[in-house]
């Protein structure tokens, strides 16, 4: 490979992965209650919504865009699910409808961004409010809880006495798909190009707008899926489900080394970031770190996550410089 082993080692996504492993090992060893299957299954189950949205969000951010409306889309899909369920529709029809709705929400974001050329940050701040508001109109003060038990069990339960929630399996499939799409297909490759230089990508014949539109749509779809999962996992469909989730997703993705200027990052890093935050929060609660201090820790981690690679880079540059200087007299 082109990168030297050292340069690769200081790549932040590898660091986050390593950090995750260290945290897990330490917690297994020293934190009572962490290692048991039930806790782990809870940890995974509670992190899944963030992880699910982080998948398309990573792709979106790599292509230089952002979607802040994901949590609202999730809330809206949950609200619609609740409302339709109350109407007596079958759950098997409701879920696809919700996913479709999510895709439409994403499509609207995408159209506003690509057709009107509006900045995605601004558009999705708007739809963040709009989708949540529509959810509120649809479901109002209701909290729908009586979804069929087999669905609830699937969303909240785990396989036997293992630590593996049922829901982890489909997630792993989605993760694999996302990894392949981003890192091994022409589509993914073009996303990096778009993120790094949209104009150069256009001049290379990449259909920038179409790609972005697809991404926004998929992001909406995944957000809706998350909303459905959320409502089932917590057995509660309310209009304010998943409020504030977008910030958690963004923090995790940033922690995973995805550059918000676009064009850089790996899915592995993003998912490692998601689970690192999840695991840390779980551990800190178990060892009675207060919620306030946990916020500080999250913040410090974020700051370190950007300062860290920079310091690492400087070290490796300095070393390379020394090596070059050392070799000067010989040639």
């Amino acid at each position: 490979m082109a990168d030297s082993p050292l340069a690769r080692a200081v790549r932040w996504d590898t660091v986050v992965g390593a950090l995750l492993i260290v945290v897990l090992l330490l917690s297994f060893g020293f934190v009572g209650g962490f290692g048991n299957a039930l806790n782990l299954s809870f940890l995974i189950g509670n992190t899944l919504p963030i992880a699910l949205i982080a998948l398309p969000m990573t792709l979106l951010v790599v292509s230089g865009e952002i979607d802040l409306s994901v949590a609202s889309t999730a809330g809206l899909s949950g609200a619609v699910m609740g409302a339709l369920w109350n109407q007596g529709m079958t759950i098997e029809t409701i879920i696809p409808l919700c996913l479709l709705l999510g895709a439409v929400c994403g499509l609207i974001n995408g159209l506003l961004v690509t057709r009107l050329g509006l900045p995605s940050l601004a558009v999705t701040i708007g739809t963040l409010a709009a989708y949540r508001g529509i959810a509120q109109i649809i479901l109002g003060s209701d909290a729908v809880t009586d979804f069929p038990t087999q669905y609830l069990d699937f969303a909240a339960g785990r396989i036997g006495d293992t630590f593996i929630p049922y829901a982890l399996l489909p997630f792993l499939v989605l993760l694999a798909i996302a990894v392949v799409v981003l890192h091994a297909t022409p589509f993914g490759r073009s996303l990096f190009a778009i993120g790094a230089s949209e104009e150069a990508a256009r001049f290379a014949g990449i259909r920038v707008k179409r790609q972005k539109l697809i991404l926004f749509t998929v992001t909406g779809l995944m957000a809706a899926l998350t909303g459905v999962f959320w409502a089932l996992h917590y057995a509660s469909a309310r209009y304010d489900n998943a409020t504030g989730l977008e910030l958690a997703v963004i923090a995790a993705v940033l922690l995973g080394g995805i550059d918000f200027d676009g064009g850089k990052g790996t899915l592995g890093g993003a998912i490692a970031g998601v689970f690192l935050l999840g695991a840390l929060q779980n551990v800190m609660s178990l060892v009675n770190v207060s919620a306030q201090s946990q916020i500080v820790v999250t913040g410090v981690l974020l700051v370190v996550s950007v300062l860290g690679p920079r310091v690492g880079r400087q070290i490796s540059v300095a070393r390379a410089g020394r090596r070059a200087a050392a070799s000067t007299p010989t040639s």
Binding site: G32, G33, F34, N36, L38, N39, F42, N46, P49, W85, N86, G88, M89, T90, I91, E92, T93, Q136, G140, S141, D142, A143, V144, T145, D146, F147, P148, T149, Q150, Y151, L152, A156, W230, H233, Y234, A235, S236, R238, Y239, D240, N241, A242, T243, G244, Q281, N282, S285, L286, N288, S290, A291, Q292, I295
Partner: protein
């Protein structure tokens, strides 16, 4: 399943409705010592919950048990509240007192806790009845709803337009109280009072502020506002006291004496009410210990003695009611500090 094979609401029979209770109660059982009771409020750092939990802490100390508090830093972060239920389960506390952000969302986790032998008491805000052993209610919802209307009606002379400024539209407690307020208003003696609007300030100072402004602009003849939420009443009072409506538009509802002292003294507010949150916490603590000790199981009709607070009887669905709220006004407000 229905004819076409899907699952609809009608297929799902609601098994809930009765509180989760097992075994037999032994009213004379010894109160256990050395227990750990975890308090999980809707939000830590919230003054209301802090004083409630302090009440619980004091009671547990007296009973020779230990207290701990965990909780999310945001009152709408349900998923993190669920994680905290799990945390308490992992830490194998003997009982937990929970104020639920969402009646349904905590259920799976709470049931898991009960399966692990942990007693679950909800306080302030209930979950579905089958997800906990007992609910300690701050006052009967009916009392609260009706007395607030009575308070305001007196202040405005049983005549004029009134409005309600609530918390979030999904706030379970507020919604129940508002229903009782409407119920009370049906009484013929209120025939000249018209409830024009229920506004929602989402327990956010600024939004409650602007909702109050909006109410006054939309209904210039508005005579009174009921705000059954501590955040809402505070914001409304602050707005009124700095506007031309001060003293002209009456305000009542649920507030803490410390929050409202200034507005009572400067004439913005005549009277409002609240229960003593510390007492609520104390009762939750005592209920938890009684449950763990086996004095009660959460069935309707069981009774237990809650220290100095007296004897309480468990009502329908495992609900234990704290009692009537206190009304605060110019005369008595200086006697309270919470």
């Amino acid at each position: 399943a229905t004819a076409c094979g899907g699952t609809t609401k009608n297929d799902v029979k609601d098994e809930g409705g009765s509180s989760a209770s097992a075994g037999k109660a032994d009213p004379n059982a010894e109160l256990k010592k050395g227990l750990t009771v975890g308090f999980l409020p809707k939000q830590v750092n919230n003054p209301y919950f802090t004083s409630a939990d302090k009440g619980g802490e004091a009671a547990l100390k007296e009973l020779g048990s230990s207290y701990k508090e965990v909780g999310p830093s945001s009152a709408t972060d349900t998923s993190s509240q669920v994680s905290y239920v799990n945390t308490l389960t992992q830490q194998q506390v003997d009982a937990m007192a929970v104020s639920a952000q969402d009646p349904g969302a905590l259920c799976t986790a709470l049931k898991q806790a009960m399966k692990n032998g942990i007693k679950v008491v909800t306080y302030d805000s209930d979950t579905k009845a089958d997800c906990r052993n007992a609910f300690v209610s701050q006052a009967s919802a009916e009392d609260l709803g009706r007395t607030e209307v009575q308070l305001l009606a007196e202040q405005i002379g049983y005549k004029g337009e009134i409005a309600i400024l609530s918390a979030a539209q999904t706030a379970t407690n507020q919604n129940i109280w508002i229903d009782y307020m409407k119920e009370e208003l049906k009484d013929p003696k209120y025939k000249d009072i018209k409830l024009v609007k229920v506004a929602y300030g989402n327990d956010d100072a600024q939004q409650s502020f602007q909702q109050t402004q909006g109410l006054l602009q939309e209904y210039p003849k508005l005579k009174g506002i009921i705000s059954p939420t501590t955040v809402g009443i505070k914001a409304a009072a602050q707005y009124l006291s700095g506007s031309k409506y001060k003293g002209k538009v009456k305000l009542t509802g649920l507030g803490t004496p410390n929050d409202m002292r200034k507005y009572v003294k400067n004439g913005t507010v005549e009277a409002f009410e609240l229960w003593d949150p510390a007492k609520l916490g104390e009762l939750a603590a005592r209920t938890s210990v009684a449950l763990v000790s086996g004095q009660i199981t959460g069935k309707e009709g069981e009774t237990f003695k809650a220290g100095d607070m007296g004897t309480y009887t468990i009502g329908k669905d495992g609900v234990i009611s704290l009692g009537k709220p206190t009304v605060f006004d110019k005369k008595n407000i200086d006697q309270f500090n919470f």
